[in-house]
Symmetry: C2
């Protein structure tokens, strides 16, 4: 068996949901409509939205016309915040201190610095997070709008307007 390091697919769903919310400011979107819009299973998408909510990225409005909205402006939300909301802040490399095992090990107090292998892995992890922190949700939406066929943007907005009218 080979374990491959990959982010959970819920991240893609969470990021697209945030991008849609950013392009419809002030419009609460129910999980049901988001799930239908992206053709995703509602319960699992709901879990991703709860994670975004726990991280303070989205907030909910209750009531018949309630739903999820961004808790801040898209300029103030980074892709890193979305990634860490879904995947957690745990580093991609875990050091189990194998230096301190086996016949050559010395007493634990003698290891004054973290292992060089761990430090190199953590530095790369930090470079990954820095790159994610540099991209705002605003920037993602700007790029997304530029590359999405205009027909889709119109069709999507129209579909959501229609769905929200039926709800209220």
């Amino acid at each position: 068996m080979s374990v491959i390091m990959q982010l959970p697919e819920g991240l893609e769903w969470a990021a697209h949901s945030c991008a849609l919310m950013a392009s419809l400011p002030g419009t609460p979107l129910p999980v049901r409509i988001l799930a239908e819009f992206f053709d995703l299973p509602e319960p699992y998408l709901g879990k991703q939205l709860q994670k975004l909510s726990a991280a303070g990225i989205v907030k909910t409005r209750r009531g018949p016309s309630g739903g999820y909205m961004l808790a801040d402006t898209p300029e103030n939300i980074s892709l890193l915040q979305i990634v860490e909301a879904v995947d957690g802040p745990t580093k991609t490399f875990k050091c189990t201190e194998i230096r301190a095992r086996g016949p050559s090990a010395v007493a634990a107090g003698n290891y004054l610095r973290p292992c060089g292998i761990a430090r190199a892995m953590w530095a790369a992890d930090a470079a990954w997070r820095r790159a994610l922190a540099e991209v705002s949700l605003h920037e993602l939406v700007r790029r997304g709008m530029a590359e999405t066929p205009p027909e889709q943007v119109e069709r999507g907005a129209e579909w959501i307007r229609m769905k929200l009218q039926k709800t209220t």
Copy 2:
């Protein structure tokens, strides 16, 4: 259930095995001795060494005094090569093109560029790999020697000499 993106622990084992081989140039190390040196399960460590071998990072010498050796100088082996040998070159973010799903989707041919979210995730993945590519095994060993208690270096070298003498 929460899935957290993390590298397999076999990576730590593979990296430490390579560092040990680098500090004992020209000395083939059997899996059995490596496993005992790091206090690791031999069959699973053996799998990591096979992955390193398949990637051309280590080579084997057969026979009673055989074992694993580096296939190149430590200056020419990067931490990225070791990571990709163990974890594969698969990107940490998989795009399932949810743009092309649901009621707003247009025909697949209309998506001329990869999704902006995927491109941002892949750019961060590339930054991570660049950081790993910049660290050579030589550099890892240099740092490791500087931070390992001298007592451990001597004890480890002595233990391996003794083990190898018993083997031959």
